[in-house]
Symmetry: C2
Subunit: 213 residues, 2 copies
Amino acid sequence: MAQTGDDGLGQGLSGGGSADERNEAFRLLRFSHIFASAVREMLEVKPLREASPSPLTLSQFHLLMLMSLNGSHQVGEVADFLGVSPPAASKTIDKLERLGLVVRAPSRGDRRATLLSVSAEGRRLVERCVKLKTGRMSPLLKGFLPAEIEQFVRFLERSSMLLLDSEPSGHGFCLRCAAYIDTGCPVGDIRGGCPHRKGRESGAAGVGTEEVS
Amino acid sequence: MAQTGDDGLGQGLSGGGSADERNEAFRLLRFSHIFASAVREMLEVKPLREASPSPLTLSQFHLLMLMSLNGSHQVGEVADFLGVSPPAASKTIDKLERLGLVVRAPSRGDRRATLLSVSAEGRRLVERCVKLKTGRMSPLLKGFLPAEIEQFVRFLERSSMLLLDSEPSGHGFCLRCAAYIDTGCPVGDIRGGCPHRKGRESGAAGVGTEEVS
DNA sequence: GTTACTAGTTAACCATGTTAACAATCAGAC
DNA sequence: GTCTGATTGTTAACATGGTTAACTAGTAAC
């Protein structure tokens, strides 16, 4: 039953073009969803659950990851990066502080601001989690030839950019897209720019240099 | 600053192998994240926000999608498919019913069960949403050659399976992975089987045939 | 026909998000 | 210098979506 073109949605997917083209569009949509779910589940949620004794949210972990790479941050920056309101960020930080993963300290320059940094315990958690991610990646790396990996990465990059570029005018939401891993987020180039990147570039002198620990 | 191998995480990612291999693993992990986020945002969240006057959750929409393709369902099946507890499903259905998108009707065979079906309004919403998804896909389809699309889809499928297969023993969580689009979910083959599939196969005679309309 | 199980809902609670209001501090006009 | 206005972060009040436990109604087994 329900062969590709038969059901109600086969119609909805037909944007013109031959049946083969429709079928390709259909399969691409489907496996994009599956891949996205698999990545989220196996490379984000599961490693985090295994690495952390107390159950952390992905948001909470992203915050930790961000700070473990970029030194101290202000609460507002963190809120921007996570894409939530300042009170939400504040509460998230409360929780992480109770767990002993981050540390709040008053900023010396601006006494309104509070600087956040990762504790040793938090840093260890991040390391454990990254190690688990790496482990889960390895069957994937073993199952492809190096040249295939290279091409797959290029496909992923190109298609991500094509997807995001269809935005009428980039009002710059943040993908929380692992940009914290490295500089040069390609997403930032086509949208308004991810807040994390902004923080690192413009705020580098004011924030990054003021170490807490 | 922070070139790929310099920062704290370059170390964490090194699972052995040459620097080039590590770099490839690194890029693959990163662009997998980016692609997953882009798919979620542009092919799931945004189309839904645009198609629906009242803000629906992805869960709620998945439920709608599921039922619009497979006729009526029981509350418990829906809970399994969404991966939430029965009370949560019940409340979700409450909301969708208040919005006039689904209809509850007593089952004639088993008077404990309630059968759910999509209203005409709900069906229109699903169609609008699918159309928007298709629209957002088109730049992607235009930006690739047909042969590239084909290969990209194969990569996505292979890597999804490799990722999911690394699970020690599939205790069958559901990816909500767009399996509702078509039969033959490849994920179901390697895990315990997605609950939706189970519902369609074993429950087809008891549930699918009893139309509520 | 009594007993045990199943389907669904309700109640009480928790986590996480929001907006509005607030205290403290900074920065510029005068 | 000081007053006014913007900013930083927190608290308070509330909405939403999830959980488990308890309950009702109905089915099924013996």
